[in-house]
Symmetry: C2
Subunit: 319 residues, 2 copies
């Protein structure tokens, strides 16, 4: 089968179709999305080698006796060992021996087929088109913010960063009824937030006042600096993005105003699928372009262009 394979450089190549192991299924990938973390893989993130990609929607193609056979699915991307202390404590997502689809020790979704444990699957309702369902993983990551920092309808919240993730976070936060401000640098991205109840500003033009919760999704130390400057005493800064640079943290900035800084990663697929099914979140404005898998290198190149939000890969055409 065709795949985007990374071993220091990305390449389109023929690789063997994977075989599902015990408890696993084979999934024929329909659509896959390129995420910021995939771009970090290109720069050596975790020293990953293998088939790239972790955002996808597809249909189960094997084994024949699986109750999932023929069903359309999204899939959680982390696979714990099931045996260590963290897995036994219910923290399989943080297992030290974990595999992560297309990111760590597990071939990913930029391919005609992938395998995942059946336990990782979520059925995609027939009402949800592929072009919506491919956003399940990033939308779930956006929803995770609400799990780590519950947002009251009376809250004032700011999202820093107007990339694909920042926009999705601002959309789901606005569904809570809270006052949501988005701070970014791309007027054309900020324009995608405003019709959904988000007040969007160039960072330099933010109104005065502090925020109960600030979500840092900019991927740069200056975003964290802005977040810590604008969060209120006893407020919460949710850190959603990683980057190579270190942030020089002054402990007094947290201790004196009793601010909390909360890391936040993968989120609840079921909630994301409900929002997509019910039309509460329409991700289509995020899509820049869709490439066939055979032109995956072009897709990766576009995803790295300034101001480009989501690039999709159609993995069916080459099958």
């Amino acid at each position: 089968m065709l795949a985007i394979y990374f071993d220091g450089q990305p390449a389109i190549k023929e690789v063997p179709r994977p075989e599902p192991g015990p408890g696993e299924v084979l999934i024929r990938v329909h659509l896959a999305g390129i995420c910021g973390t995939d771009l970090q893989v290109l720069r050596g993130y975790h020293g990953f080698q293998g088939v790239m990609g972790h955002e996808f929607v597809g249909e189960v193609a094997a084994p024949e006796d699986s109750p999932w056979l023929g069903r359309r699915v999204a899939g959680e991307i982390t696979i714990g060992c099931g045996a260590c202390d963290l897995c036994r404590r219910g923290l399989a997502g943080h297992c030290r021996q974990r595999q992560v689809l297309g990111l760590k020790d597990r071939d990913g979704a930029f391919a005609s087929y992938l395998t995942l444990p059946a336990a990782n699957l979520h059925a995609v309702d027939p009402e949800i088109p592929d072009i919506f369902a491919v956003f399940t993983e990033p939308l779930a990551a956006a929803l995770r913010v609400l799990e780590v920092a519950p947002v009251s309808p009376t809250a004032r919240v700011m999202v820093v960063g107007d990339g694909s993730l920042g926009l999705q976070i601002s959309w789901v936060l606005a569904l809570s009824g809270a006052v949501v401000h988005l701070a970014g640098h791309h007027p054309e991205h900020l324009a995608l937030a405003r019709p959904r109840g988000v007040a969007a500003f160039l960072s330099a033009e933010l109104p005065a006042g502090d925020y109960d919760i600030v979500v840092e999704a900019s991927g740069s130390p200056s975003g964290l600096e802005l977040a810590l400057t604008r969060v209120r005493p006893q407020g919460t800064v949710v850190m959603k993005s990683t980057y190579v640079d270190r942030y020089p943290l002054d402990p007094a900035v947290l201790v004196v105003p009793e601010v909390r800084l909360v890391g936040c990663r993968c989120g609840p697929f079921a909630g994301a699928l409900r929002l997509l099914r019910d039309g509460r979140v329409d991700p289509r404005p995020l899509i820049h372009r869709t490439f066939p898998l055979a032109r995956g290198l072009e897709a990766l190149a576009w995803a790295q262009c300034p101001g480009v939000l989501k690039v999709l890969i159609d993995c069916r055409e080459t099958d």
Copy 2:
């Protein structure tokens, strides 16, 4: 009256007895304690000038018509303006125009008398000797940990730092029934923790395993480094101490394991007074020596010696 006055250098000098303003009382100070923050004042913290000191127990001496007259009291140290948005939101402790006893725009407790708003006072039960009651403020600060990071009796908790605050935190955490480890550098301090249900270790000799909650009370970036290394995924690091150095924070250290980093400052006096009254916390082993106010400079010098825990100042003798 006599006072330890700081204006770039500490000095014992005669200053005018303060006059209580509207809603305030005059307090004759019995005992005062020297805290790490007082030592930071000596190094220029906040550019404070005035009478030093914020840990105290005393008795109300004026006005004559106060219901507090003659009562023994401890006092909360922060005074909000009462009018700003933070005060109106119930965050007076974080008021931007706040005064803080002996630390910011308000003369403090290393003196024969101080003034505070009556609203800041807590009655000290007659069963609580002065030598216990003078620990109300630091013990309340230790209890604040339990407010920002609720400790389950099934939790594994580590306190980093075996100074006076770290010891008090380890004592109150052990009262929760949780497994509490203390990591420090002074065998003689670690020995003060062990009889109270705390397993105490030199930092280099900590047992393996991670912690649900780590409290950083060491006052150094290496303490935060240890905390972030040993906290479990989705665990909490409570930051209790400030210091001049910046900590070079790698955002991935919080984002990937979804760790939370929580600043923590002043705490509940009422709970501290209950623990002192009921003999749940006996602070006396922390006391290195008590000096009369007239020898306050000696007291400050002792408080800066390596391994010295709490130095007290008896403010009555010179009145």
